[in-house]
Each structure stands twice: as C-alpha cells, then as structure tokens.
Symmetry: D2
Subunit: 361 residues, 4 copies
C-alpha cells in the first residue's frame, strides 16, 4: 500500500479525497493536513464550525467514521518524506508555497491552478493526454526535485477536453464556443456562493474561469514534442456562469471540426473512444470515459452526474452547428467534484503508479 | 378608452395581461374569456383549483381585486365585435381556431405561435420592426378580415432580436450562436415544469423552442419589401435550456458582425439605439429598450429582470468573440412574462393604436 | 422466490418499489401493472412522456435496465392468482376498486389510504405495531378473502409513530403537537407541486394530510384487543406544510409524556428501542429504526435522509417542552419515499413472509 | 426634516434602511457609517466586493443612485451630535460599544440584540407596546444620556407578538408553542447561509434564536409598571429552523388562550385590532398591522410577504388546538427585513417623533 497525505483535508475537495480513497486497493491515507488553525485537532473536531458547533462534513458518514480520530497536521510543517504521494486541495496562493516544498521529496497531485501554466508541468487526464506524463522527468531535472507536481485541470475544462479529444483525433478541431452552467460545489462552501446570491438567480461571471478553460484546453489537447507541450491550434471561447445546482457542470458546446463529419460519425467517435492509452483497468476508472445519450432531455445534472461513479462525462443533444464550418453542437455534463476534482486526481495517481512515476523505486 | 378582451385570462400570461392593463390610460378590460370549464364563473372563482381550493393567482392582489367579480366568458362564443382589441394568451392549437374568428372582426394581439410563420403575418416588437405593421392591410385583404392577427415573438426571441437590431443596423450581422437559460414561468404553471424535475437540476431541452428562435429572429430582423418580409440573411443557432429561476431569460450570445467593430462601438450602438421608429412615448415603453451594464456580474435575473418595468433588455459582459469573424459575445437578460409576453403585447397594441391600426375608424 | 406484482408501476412510488426489490433475496417482480393507457407497452416505453419524449424515470439507471423490457399490464385486468404478493402505488380512488379484487386472491401491501381507516384493516410498521398483523385473519374471515389488504401509513405518520412508540412504551403519552416540513416527492411528480409554486416559497397546507396523521397515529399506537384495535388515547395535533426539499420529511414535535422523564431517559428509550418484536433480520431492515443525533444542526434532510438505507428515522434537538406537562420536544427526519412508501411496504411484506402471512401454504 | 445616520450601512439591513428612508417625509439620511475598511469610500464603491468587483446591492437601483456618492464614515468615529436619530444595523458585539457612545448624545434605534434584555431598555413595536416608550426617560436618567437606545425585536419575534397582542388583550394568554421556517435574508448575506447548506435542505437550528424569541415575547407583551417592565406570564416554546426562502418568516403557532374562545372571536380580535395606541397615521404604517386570510393555502412567503409594504403580518389557517387548554393554532408570515428589521425600526422612529421623544426640543 502506498502512503498518502491529503493537504487541505477539511474543505469540500479534501473530503472528496477521503471519499475517493476509502477502501482504495493501492493507497492508504496516512496524513491529513490543513491550516495551523486546525492543526493538532482530531479531524472530526476540526470540521466543527468554531462559532456554531455545526459539523461541516458533506459526504457519507461511514467515510467520516473511518478518519474522524486522525489528528490534523499543519500543512506548512508536513514532512513529505513520510508519504509516497501527496494530494492537495488548497487555494492557488498556498499551493505556490507548499507544493514545491512537498515536490522536492514526493509526487504531488494538485487540484490547484498554481503550476498548471508552467512549461514543464503537464495537466493530466488519464486516457486523454496520458503521454504528457513524460514531461515529469524534465520537470524533476529542471527543478532538482525527487518528486513532481501534476495538477489536474479546472473542473470546467475536464468534461470539455474529454469530449473534444475523440473529435480532435478523428476529425481535427478548429475552434469552439462553450457556455457553462456550473454547480455550486465548484465554488467551495464558505466562502463560496452565498445562498442569497443564487436563489431564483444565475450569476453570469466566475472570475478567471474562462481564461483557465481556454488555456488549459489547448494545453491538454496539445502535443508533447521534445521537452515541451505545443498547445493545440484550437480557438477556444468560453462563457462561464453559475446556476443553482449542487454538483455537475453542464456545458453547451459548438465545435468547428477539421473536416465535415455527419452526426453518426461523431457519435461513433465518442462511443468507440478507448483513451489515448488504456485506463479502464485503473481502480477509479469508469466503464467508459464518455457516455452518449440520445434522449433529448439528457444530460441532466441531478440524473446523470453520478454516471460511472461520477467519472463519466455524459454527452447529448448532438446536432449540426450551422454557424461554424463543419460544425456540430452538443451538451455535456461532468461531475465537478468527482472526475473534476478529488476522484479525478486519484485517477491520475493510479495511472502514475501503474506507469512507475509514483511508488516505483 | 378602447375596449379590450383577454382570452385565456385565467392562466399566468392572462394574469400578466391584467397586470399590464390595470389603470391603462387608453385600454379598459371589458371581457375575460377562458375555456368552457371556467365560463360563467366569477373570475376570482375561476382561479380556484377545483380539487384543492387553492387560489391560482400570481400577481399583486390589488390587481385581482379590481377584476375578481367579472364573469368569465366562453372563449369559443366570445363576440369580437364588442371589443376594439383582443389579447390572446392561449395555446397554439386553440389559437389556430379562435384567432381567425376574432380577427374577422377585431384586431388580435397574440402571444401564441399559431400564425407567426405565415407570410402575411408580421411578428411585431415596437421600436425593432415597427414598419412591418404595414403588412397588416395585406393580411386583411388576403383574408377578408376587418381585424388582423399580430403575434408577438416567442419570449426567448424577444431579448435576442432587441440586442441584435442595433448591431445589424450599425455593423451588419452574419451569424450568431446562442445558449439560453430560461425561467420556469415561460413554461406556464400547470402543466409546466414539475418541481421535482428542476430542483438541483437543469433541463437541457425545450421542445420546438430552438426552431422558433431561429425562424423568428430572421423574420423580425428581415425587410418588408412590397407585400412580403424577406428574412434577414443571418445564420442563427440556438440551444435552449430550462433553469431554476422564476422569471427572466438569460442568454449567452456570440455574434459575427458584418464588419470589424471594437467593443466601444458596440456599446455605443446599444446605448444610442433609438428604435426603428420612436416608441418612448407609448405608455408601456421603458426609459430605454436596452440597458448596458459594465459590471461583470450582471445581468442577473433576480436583480435585473424588472429594469424598465420588465420592458428593458439588459446586456452585459461584452467581450470579443475570437471564434467568429468580426465576433463579439455578450449576455442578455429579458423578462419573459413582461416584455416577452403580456406587457410586450400591450406595448404592440399601444403602437398600433398610435399608428391608427387599432381604434381608428 | 415469491412472485410479486407492482400496480402503479410507472409512478414515482412504483419506481421506488423497483428500487426496493431489485436483487431482493425473497421476492421477484413478475408483473408490472398500470392504467390502460400504459398497458401493452414495454415498461421503458411507458415511462416516456407522450408529448415530449422525456423519460420519466427517477432512480438509478441499472435498476431500470433490469425491467425496461417487461410489458406493462392493465391493472384492471391483472390476474392476482399469478402472484404471491401485490404491491400497490395508486391513488385512493383506484385502490378502492382494485385492491379488494386483488385481495380476494392474494395479499396486497398498499401505499394508498383507501382502506387504512377500516376496523379490520391494520396499518403496519414492522417493529412498531407488528402484532396488529393478527387482525388479518379477521379481515379475511369478514370479507371472505384468500388474501388481505395491509396499508402502510401516510409518509408523514411513519417517522412520527416510530419516534413515539418507545416513548409510549417507557413513559406513556398524553398528547403531541407536530409541524411538518414535507418534501416534494411526497406529492408525486405530475400532477405534483408545480415548480412555480414552491421556488422561494412554502405551501402551508396539504389537503387531508393533517387528519390522516392524527387518525393513523392513534391507530398504529393502539392496542389490538380481541378482534379490534383500540386507538391510543393520545391527542394529536398536526400542521403540515410543503417546502422546497426533494426527499425527507422533517417534523418538529412537542410531546406530553405520561410521566416526568429527563432527557437522558428519553434518549435512552430511543437508543435501546428494539422493536415490539425483533425485525433486524429482515432484508430491508436498517441497523436501527431510530438514530439519535446530538449535533444541534441535525437532522437535515439532504444529509440524513439516506441513513440506514432510508429506513432509519433520525431524531435530534431533544429539549424540554415547557408548555406541556412532562413535555419534551425534538425534530425528526424520515425518508418519505423509502421508509415512508415503497421500501417501507416491502419491509412489511418481509415481516409477513417471516410470520407466515404471505407465501406460506 | 430630521437628520439621520445609518450605521452598518453597507450590509443588507443597512441597505433596507436606505430603501425605507428614500423619500421619507420626515427623515433625511445625512450620514452613512460602516467599519474602518469602508470608511472614506464612496458608498457605491464600498459595496463592491474587493476581490471580485461584484456590487453587493440588494435593493432597487434608483434607491442606490440617490446615495451612491455619499462618503462612508467610520462608525467608531461618527459624531452623534450631527444627527437627530441614528439607526444601527450592526452585530451585537459592535453595538455594545458603539450604541452607548451614540446614545450619550442622540436617540439610537437599533436592530441589534445587545441591549434588548436590559431592564431600562424597551423593545418597541408601534401599536403593540407603544407605552413602553415611557421607560426612555428612566433609561436616560439611569445612564446620564441625552439620547437613548431603543432596540426592535428579533425578526422572528416581531410577527409572533403582533399576532399575540390582540389575543392577550381579548382572551388572555397562557402559553404557546411555535415552529419557525425562517428566510435566508435573516442570516445576512456573507457570512450568511452558504448555498451548499440550504439547497434541497432545511437547517433545523439557528443559534440563540429560540431563546431570543422566548424572552422578547414575554417582555414586549409585558406591563410597564412604575419604572420597570413586568414580563407577561406566558410560557413560550420556540423551535427555529432555516428554509430555502429569500424573505419572509413563516411560523406555525399553537396558543393556549386565557379563556375559551371560538374561531370567529379570534378572527374578530385580529380584524378589529387597532393597536395599543393608534399608529395608522405614521408614514411607514401599513393599512393594518394584521391581515387575516381564510384561504387555507395562505400565507405563503413569496405571495404574501409584501402585504402592506412588508409591514403587515398575515395570519391564516386558524383552527382549534386540541392539545392545549382553550387552544387555537394558526400560521403567520412576517417580512423579516421590512417589518422585522430596517423598516420596522423606521416605524419606531416615526412613533417616537410623533410622541416627542425624537426631534423635540
């Protein structure tokens, strides 16, 4: 069993890491870290709101029972050498300081954006751009680290690139216009979206989100050539909004393919997509990365977000896009806190374990 | 005072007509009609759910107080000659039968789609395509009617064409891609959207809606040449979804203009838009048809839908659209049951009164 | 394996029966019945909205997959002799006609209220009033039936009587005042609660609900003496409201006990409650019928409704009730479509199987 | 015109004060104060979220337009002598320090709980306990202040005591059991109720709320005898919960009256209630303090909260309460940020102006 730490363990994504790792066949959680304020407390106690006594736990209670007596450590003092892999669920600012310190010794899988845009850092999705992992030795050499940092994408990018990859491979891809309707959990709990802001409402702007989607999509779909990733030559235009949905990001997507394709071909590209490398044998892998629905009323977040254990991107409403050359349009749904966050990060770790980047020595 | 009837008076849009006409300076409601089931009852009584006794009234109670004792008439037996104008708030199927019968004698302003797509029927928005009213004498001659039918657009089309018109006039317009996030009230109350379908959810499909938006947009932006409207040569691509918002349709729009324009010019086109003909003097006219916000968090449905008494379309988040030639993108909000339904129909009536199509003899 | 039919199989509660019976160790679903409109269709097809094509399925899709090809039968023509037990999920009106016809041959477990208030009909909750099953031979003799009808309680009564039973047994019970905040699913989907009625709202009245709770509570807590149930001598006062929650009825309860009891004793009565007869070995039984929380912020419907597979009633916020003699007050949460409907009915069937009322010959 | 300051002007209740005072016939806002962080900024600028730029304004935009250029002052340095009355909308902790400093010079109307429970401080509701204002000279003498502090009640107490007062006067009152379903705005915006906590949920506990309701109800309904208020001899039992409603607190109430009364008498007591002293002439007074509905589906928060400009408490569902001696039960609705907060405080100021406590010299 590999020994893992979760940094930022008390937040929503931290809790999702615990859900993703309970009973994991390869990874055992041996450290929970958070800010100095929580350090030294039992985990169950650290989840209590100091003012109201409310327990801030969002998952299943048997998951909590398994870890509530672990003592939370101070993230800034955590010794990375005690672990084979460290999962981080912290803000970009903290990540900028903490992650390099950890990575000097140990592989770090990060949900933060802090290092996503650096040249020697791949943003990994198993089955989509698995080969970008070959950039890790470069990163280690550049930085003199024994470990490395692998960020997963922004949760809005994840479902998008998963549905784009088979299209790019089969038809080529020129450009896309996307509108997202994002779930509340993507903003975290507190500070997150105040209930007074979202009841009977939509918030039409999420700071920095659109830029992240645009840059990350091109990078993930890009080619690793030599020691650098050349971003895909795709024009990406995103509009990101927040709606009153708990989990599951919905995105309407209009794509200009590289060549004319009829809808059956597109459907077939998705249905037969096997991943850039096979990943179906990894513990967190869903039966398929993409599920295509022909019911025009699907995907719906509440009904479809848990498809494949929250790891499958569901696409539907495939139609021609008359505005774009060789255009098609569709709607996708991706679970933002499972495939799009903690469980997606665990999925990455599993691939890196299999491929010898983690735990091999 | 002109005498008006409201047909379909017990439904939500019917009630919105009453809100729009209470204390109207030119129009007095003298008839309320509905299905045979409600006929003969006091209006206040007809609003009661027969099974539960619940009062199905959605507006201000002083509006109801003014009309609750009026006796509801059977729409299929209503004598149109008693009225100067008839407002209809009924389904397309019924409209197909009832509206021609009324129009034989009296002008009909309709919220139904039944006649929107016929060649001699203009879909009117005051200030946007006011001159299409000149088609009405053709309609009367073709059909041998003393009155006429003027439908207003689908509520999702309304805000879209209002924001497009100044762009078309100033820059030309090639194509657009739109995603809507539509309010519950657009579906009516019962049958409407069941609460179990929309809590913590999005419904990614609204039957027939996308086709309506595409056809109506081209028609309203088209040119009346001779005795026919030539639809605008604009490619329109719509994706329509339902979200958990009471009132106010939000739309993300990417537009390919006819020529390069910087954002200031676009903003200026909206801000200086004065209507194809002046309509600001009409009783239901808002201070301006379009309000431009520079706050990136706006428009929001709950905060902005009542701008200009629900008659102003609010636009925000104007940005370049990199995917489309000479592209810009923005987000708009339009009140679907005010400008997009009853009050918008009253606004049309006011213009037709001013211009002598209604009430002139 | 016993052969079961589900009548009313296409509705929400019918679907919950399928969820409750998939992979059941003792019961196999061999018949799905619904109205004549659905009869003859594949189940998966019968779930489609005829107007929109939307699939009206509310559960897990693997459950649907197992039954979607079964052909729906006409409930009015179903031959009860083909089954060992029939579960009904229909309105009271239909139940009044259909259930006696079925019960003439086969045991019927009913979620309808049609027969709940008849003298020879017990309303059963396993572990609460299991011994009331002894009324069934009386019912059979009275009516000349080979089978019988056993209704489960109204979903609002269920959690209430479960929490009251240990108090009655230990302390006695004089009276109680209850306010419910009930979930949307209790009203069914369509017609159910329109989304426009409940967004940003509470509906302070549910027709007939309060009377049901008052009568059923006394009957279930009553004593079977000879051939009749003497209702418990408890004054029950209920106020039932609807709130914007999907599943899980919350109830605030103030109780006047039969004698003074401190809070620890009350807590202990709940925690040690073992059922009037043991039921923990039944397949659908939860680890415990009652879970007591000491977190003041619990129970919450979204966090707690699935406790014990939706079969456990969660109580919290136990405090003294100063207004009532020997009073205590608390809040409870019960899953209205699991313990309070289909799965609760299956639980009853399991007890009746064990005790030889069903399937024994 | 009297000169007023609003302290805590940037929060939700502060904004509601601006709504309540715009175009007020007697009071002009001449000072806006907030924390040091906002001090020195234009009001419109102080409302901006420093991180996101979002404008945190919750009211009508023409109200904002009237004050957005006023410069916010530091509450801790505000000179009370510049004002005839100071309205505070701050937390209890700050109130404990700031309000006495202001009250040394100027009357303070407070929405905070800091001084509500002190012997020489009346909690005022015009028309309910107007005569308690006679305690103010005692307070001034005790404390050596030129001004005074008058808190309004907790927003959950307000509607309750308004409906109880006519019952107490006519029948006497022994005890009551109340369950509240409180709106989000009662918790403020941020920190307030996180959207992830309340979607598809109820929170069954609001810290300190129940105790406030119990103590305040007895005090407000008490008698001023000599220089002290003797609390009413009424046992009050409250359970307070939070639901997903924007504005308007709903309460189910079971009351034990002092003598037997039939429902018509109770209805009559409410309908004919004229206030302990007349207040109908005050600018913010509603047509009546209480409106009685006989529709069993009312009151509903979204439909009824704005009755009487948000100043009328709506009661409905009056029924006998079988559990309590001489019992009746009913449901009430009160607008928590209008009558229950800022506008209610302005209403108090208006009464104190009329009666010479404010502005008289």
């Amino acid at each position: 069993m590999l020994r893992a730490a979760i940094v930022g363990a008390t937040g929503i994504v931290g809790q999702q890491f615990l859900e993703a790792l309970v009973n994991h066949p390869q990874i055992r959680v041996e450290g929970l870290a958070a800010s100095a304020r929580s350090a030294g407390k039992r985990y169950g106690e650290a989840l209590r709101d100091p003012q109201t006594g409310s327990l801030r736990w969002y998952g299943a209670f048997d998951v909590l029972a398994a870890v509530e007596d672990m003592v939370v450590e101070d993230a800034s003092e955590l010794d990375p050498r005690r672990f084979d892999v460290i999962f981080t669920a912290i803000e970009a600012d903290e990540a900028r300081t903490l992650e390099p310190r950890y990575a000097a010794e140990t592989p770090v899988i990060s949900t933060a954006s802090a290092f996503r845009y650096e040249n020697d850092v791949p943003i990994l999705i198993p089955g989509i751009n698995s080969t970008h992992a070959r950039l890790l030795p470069v990163q280690q050499r550049n930085r003199g680290w024994k470990g490395f940092i692998v960020p997963i994408p922004n949760c809005t990018t994840t479902g998008l690139v998963i549905t784009l990859k088979p299209l790019l491979d089969r038809f080529g891809l020129r450009s896309l216009i996307m509108t997202s309707m994002q779930a509340l959990s993507g903003a975290g709990r507190s500070p997150g979206v105040p209930s007074m802001d979202i009841l009977d409402n939509i918030i039409p702007f999420i700071p920095k989100e659109e830029g992240k989607v645009e840059v990350e999509t091109r990078k993930i779909l890009g080619k690793l050539e030599g020691e650098a990733i050349t971003p895909a030559d795709v024009v990406v235009s995103a509009t990101c909004t927040r709606v009153n949905v708990m989990d599951g990001h919905t995105e309407t997507v209009s794509v200009s393919l590289g060549r004319k394709a009829d809808l059956d071909e597109v459907m077939d590209a998705w249905r037969t997509f096997a991943g850039d490398v096979p990943v179906a044998d990894l513990p967190s892998a869903p039966p398929s990365l993409i599920h295509v629905s022909t019911d025009p009323y699907r995907p719906q977040p509440r009904l479809d977000r848990d498809t494949g254990g929250g790891m499958t991107t569901v696409v539907g409403r495939l139609r021609p896009e008359p505005v774009l050359p060789d255009g098609v349009k569709y709607i996708l749904l991706s679970h933002n806190t499972k495939m799009g966050a903690a469980k997606g990060a665990v999925f990455v770790a599993e691939m890196l374990i299999r491929d010898g980047y983690i735990g091999g020595n």
